[in-house]
Symmetry: C2
Subunit: 507 residues, 2 copies
């Protein structure tokens, strides 16, 4: 009954696969890798100086161990990539480096020194809608102190954040570490009648509305605190449904910043009037401010700013954010602040999920690719001098002599010179093009004539390119210039000659 006769089986033509990456994932080339590696090494140096030790946790954790603390869980999978193990248990790719740290501490509690100071650099994954500059795999570099109840641990991390930014090349005055306290926000919420357990979900909506202050301004946040907000694309985000006087109080909180820490703290005290928890938060901020002042970081490096709340649900006390204050061209061309490159806070409840008892902890996290982007903008030497030189390429003109060409390459490498033999199947012209593409400083050429004479030709590609430019205007000197960029030496002197070309290039 089928139309295709059995005698002529449809041989499955294997269709050509499309070579593509999943959205939100990206490859990285040598310059980016080298710059990142150098930036991480600088950060590591500061963290080590502060007494933090390296730690790594795996990419995969039990889903329940990670918990659900992500903001904007508007996707079916709630922001994480998850899959089932063969014993039916759910596993997830880590979405940050804090939840796995809590698991690590709880699992090894008795064996760890307390306080436990660790730093961790690594990739994390978010199952979110990717966009420009918004990836589903990105790197964070965290430092955390677990087991330190006093807010001097928070103050220390904020000052370390400042030192770290300066170490990687962000000049003083072009950044600020802002500190706030969730307890103060709790006090405000208490004061407007949202303190009870039953309002937990609404409190979260308020929290995330405030977290968008930077992006949406006070009017936008007021809409998200009240009836809701429609964005440019027409998407509507439901609001917290607060009354105007409630909204006013929340905005008074975010706007409480004064000219100095003393004024800010006095303003905050007024906003949380009547809330014990709010006052506790203000007292903690006062303690932090005193430490920051004593250490001299109150010169604009570290500052109290009630507009900072951080979107993650697990914070329980001080929260902080590293903001770069210089402007860049925004999407519409108008200048905008570069903004946040790192943030963190105190999360006394995360380890408690495993241990039953509260374990005080505080830490912060650098967005690695965001900070790297900033370093490119300010022209930090970390990213501008990549130090990547191409290899010297030994051309292959006579395939029967491969072993000899290889011996030439081996001699260069033995002298510590980055070098390779051309391994493709193409002719001289393509080989020269290849060397150009590899950014080679020079090529080594040996045809049958040179071989018979026991010599090699060395062609300086940098000098050659410069001279080609010159001879465009000065045609009668062309031949001579070409001779300068390419010269012959006895084979035994090849290494010295190549060294000379490399040295000329560096000077």
């Amino acid at each position: 009954m089928s139309g295709s006769p059995k005698s002529q089986p449809q041989k499955p033509q294997s269709p050509k696969l499309l070579a593509r990456q999943p959205r939100g994932f990206a490859d990285r080339g040598p310059a980016d890798i080298a710059a990142t590696e150098r930036m991480l090494a600088h950060i590591r140096e500061i963290y080590a100086l502060y007494g933090f030790d390296a730690l790594e946790t795996p990419f995969v954790e039990y889903t329940d161990a990670l918990g659900k603390f992500l903001p904007d869980q508007d996707r079916p999978n709630e922001g994480v990539f998850s899959f089932q193990d063969d014993d039916e248990q759910w596993l997830s790719l880590r979405y940050d480096l804090t939840a796995p740290l809590a698991r690590h501490v709880a699992e090894n509690y008795d064996a760890l020194p307390k306080p436990f100071r660790s730093y961790r650099a690594g990739w994390v994954f978010r199952n979110e809608k990717p966009g420009p500059g918004r990836f589903r795999q990105f790197m964070q570099f965290d430092a955390d102190t677990v087991g330190a109840p006093s807010v001097s641990a928070d103050a220390e991390i904020c000052m370390m954040a400042a030192d770290t930014l300066e170490k990687v090349g962000i000049a003083r005055g072009r950044y600020v570490i802002k500190i706030n306290n969730r307890k103060v926000l709790d006090g405000v919420l208490e004061a407007i009648g949202l303190g009870a357990d039953e309002h937990a979900a609404r409190r979260l909506v308020v929290l995330r509305a405030i977290d968008k202050l930077d992006r949406l301004g006070a009017e936008g946040v007021a809409l998200l605190l009240g009836p809701g907000r429609k964005d440019e694309s027409g998407d509507f985000t439901r609001g917290a449904g607060l009354a105007p006087e409630q909204i006013a109080r929340v905005l008074a909180f975010t706007d409480a910043r004064g000219d100095n820490a003393g004024t800010t703290l006095a303003n905050l005290e007024k906003v949380v009037e009547g809330s014990a928890r709010g006052l506790e938060g203000v007292a903690e901020l006062r303690e932090i401010a005193a430490l920051v002042e004593a250490a001299g970081y109150d010169d604009g490096r570290v500052s109290i700013d009630p507009a900072v709340v951080r979107g993650l649900e697990y914070y329980t006390g001080p929260v902080y954010e590293a903001e770069l204050t210089f402007t860049i061209a925004g999407e519409d061309g108008a200048p905008v602040r570069f903004g946040s490159v790192a943030g963190g806070g105190r999360y006394d409840g995360l380890v408690a999920r495993f241990r039953g008892e509260a374990v005080p902890a505080t830490g912060f996290s650098i967005g690695v690719s965001r900070l790297l982007a900033a370093l490119k903008i300010v022209g930090s030497p970390i990213v501008s001098d990549t130090g990547l030189a191409g290899p010297v390429v030994v051309l292959v003109l006579d395939r029967a002599e491969i072993a000899h060409y290889h011996a030439l390459v081996a001699r260069l490498r033995a002298a510590g010179i980055r070098a390779e033999m051309y391994l493709g199947g193409s002719g001289m012209k393509a080989q020269m093009k290849y060397a150009d593409r590899r950014n080679s400083p020079c090529v080594v050429i040996q045809g049958s004539d040179e071989r018979a004479a026991g010599t090699v030709q060395i062609k300086d590609l940098v000098a050659g390119a410069e001279q080609a430019e010159t001879t465009r205007q000065l045609d009668n000197a062309a031949y001579k210039a070409q001779r300068l960029a390419q010269f012959s030496v006895p084979e035994a002197e090849m290494v010295e000659a190549v060294r000379g070309v490399l040295a000329a290039r560096q000077s």
Copy 2:
């Protein structure tokens, strides 16, 4: 009708979460991280010297882009961790670094220099049954040349593998890079009548049987080539069902190694007699052997060994394996060879899956944690000298003086000395214990007396521990010894005094 009355809602008691890692995943501490990082830097140096450039691909790829090339696909999920994207497409965690490279090359083909030489270090994931030393997340360090049709590319990688092992501390004579060629095996299979397409599955069984030669010996492999084999646990593995004379021919192939490359090649020529493809494979091996000999690597560093086939299906030509030849104690205490730490081969068909045309490629992959384990056994300086010193700890005896203690720490850090203030909530004794646990060289102590006198006490923990040992025998000198390990200096001289303790420790 329900037994639970509505007036008494069962308040959900949140059960304490178990802090645990999924099987086959592991955390890593500072010593392991530092040793790995140092080993990777050494490998990178050799790869760069050979003209390879860094490349990184993401952890997640489309499942179809990765293909199914894993051996031992005895798990429901066929060896990979997979999950569906919100557009229903299947994504997988990469199981090696070769399949993603093929995708990268196909996707960027026109923009890349050809040959394209890249190295990539990164974590890969296998959804397999974990066991001792067998992890589901592990690191590989690969180098590949794509677009090089000649086997001189394979020869180069084998010699680079030798240089790499020596660079990280494996002495010459304690390793061998073994080379074989899949085409020779194809010739053998042709010769025993398994050449046709319909025998593809059986050929794979033969391939994987040979790959177990190291572990099972010739008798075990003969069973896997024939009727099948029951292992110690009683599990039965089905065999390829070959007849005795077919098995004999396959084993003659794996046993074809002679005293030198010439003898081995002659033996192989006999085994593949009558197969054009087999002879092509022997000719390629002959070419590689000539290059290896010309470069002087035939001194035992690189050698042809027909027993090497590699388990992965995608290899199409030369295959190679780096084996460490020294012995360690096996599970039963008897000495066994350390064995393979790296391997690879030519995979001319992997990029073709995307491009339709064959793109010649060859590369190899180091098992990072296996090589690191080997370095520990041979006592390579890379892993023995971790260079990790603990921080100087400033004790906190008077909480009202936190700002001043912090200033002391800041002064040490400003002098480049790794230091921290004790941030926990415990007393003096616990703080000393903490410093011991952190491997601190010394602690700085300032109580109210010292503060009034403008001094600090410095307690040298290393000298202290040594003297405590001495005074166990020499009780009457105990007091004096303690005084030596702990001394008082003016606060202004603290940095110099700590430097003195650190210098004494290093000498």
